[in-house]
Each structure stands twice: as C-alpha cells, then as structure tokens.
Symmetry: C2
Subunit: 123 residues, 2 copies
C-alpha cells in the first residue's frame, strides 16, 4: 500500500475506526455539537439534546470525559452544580468531525439516490 501523507497507517485502522464509531454513536455527535457553543450544566445539555435519556447522557458524557474530550467541573454550591465543557482536544476533534459532517450533509441526497437505485436493482 502506498503510504502517502494522506493515508493513515494501516495498523491504526482499528483504533481510528473505534474512534469514528464512538463519534458516530447515536448520541455523541448531538452532545458534542451542543457543547460546542460553551459549557453547560447536565440538565441544560439534556434539554438541548432531544430524546436523550438521563442514563444515556450520563454514559455519553462519561465516555467523552474518559477520552479527554470533555471536562467535568463540580461547583461547590448547594446543591452542587456539575458543568460540562469541551476540552481543547474535544474542540479540535469536533472541528474535524464537523468537516466530515459537512461533507456528509452535502452528499446525503446523492447517497440516498444510490441506495434507492441499489434497492430497486436488488429488491
């Protein structure tokens, strides 16, 4: 295989795929897009992401925190307030994902068209 600058190392395909899967997870992208404008408390994120359950939001934020994409800050108020913010790493990945998202968005009609043709041929 030709290893041009634009081709990721074959050996890292698994790891890269794993991270793409995480980003492509049902809730990760909506949560990250929501945090892109600034830090938010748990319930504010929950209100902004239509349809997400408390459990799934907890799980999604925890995975993002573990990867270093999101910072979790507990403010010592009564009751304590927990705020979530994208880290510089998370912001950087988000910009890259947005770029790919923009591509996907622009090409969705074409992809849908291909799918319909394929299903007609193979129905």
């Amino acid at each position: 295989m030709d290893m041009t600058a634009s081709t990721p190392d074959h050996r890292n395909c698994g790891r890269i795929g794993e991270l793409l899967s995480t980003i492509g997870d049902r809730w990760t992208l909506p949560v990250v897009v929501t945090l892109h404008d600034g830090p938010l408390r748990f319930n504010a994120v929950r209100r902004a992401v239509t349809g997400i359950s408390q459990q799934m939001l907890t799980r999604t934020l925890r995975i993002l925190e573990r990867d270093g994409m999101v910072d979790r800050t507990v403010h010592p108020t009564v009751p304590p307030q927990v705020e979530y913010a994208l880290t510089p790493l998370g912001r950087s990945l988000t910009e890259e994902a947005f770029r790919l998202g923009t591509w996907v968005q622009a090409h969705l009609p074409l992809i849908d068209n291909h799918r319909a043709q394929f299903d007609d041929r193979n129905g």
Copy 2:
C-alpha cells in the same frame, strides 16, 4: 445553537452519525484504504485485509456499493472475474475520512493517556 459554516445542521446529526458509524465499522476503513490505490478483485481485497472472512468482506462491499462508494464490475471471463473500485464519491469520502484518521492517529497517545488517568481515578 450558532449555525456557523462549520457546524452541521443539528437535524442531520443522526444521518451523519450513521455514516460515521459505517466508516468506523470494524472492516469498512481497512477495505476502503485497500481500494484507495486502485481497483482489485475480491480475493485480492481479501488477501490485503488481514483477518476478514469471505462473508464479512461480501457484506462490507455490499454496504459500500449500496451507498455508491464502490463500483462492482463483472468481467465476462471464464470463470467471471468481479472487480471492486472506489467511485469518485467513495474516493472523496475516503479523503475526508483520512483527514480525520490523520488527526486521530496524531492524538492517539494523548487519548490513551487521558483514558489511563481516568481509569486510575475511577478504578
């Protein structure tokens, strides 16, 4: 939410996520990387992608073909030879995915470091 040029439309998050999941699938990225250098016959792809089964390669190529990312050409030889090639659409998506892949590759040590720290704190 601020809809800057770089922010994909919130309503398309599901579709974008779905496509990212497909790319991040265990086998899609290795197959696409393999086809990036030029068209190949089924068995040549299979030899190049270590560990993939015949069934999984058939399934992966079919999904890529359905989305219009891969063209399947049957040459009328005896026995017939079936060749797979990235379409211009597939090549374009691949370039975008490579860009994200390059980012992931460069930041993997940092992400791994965050994970180890998180697991120490929460172990």
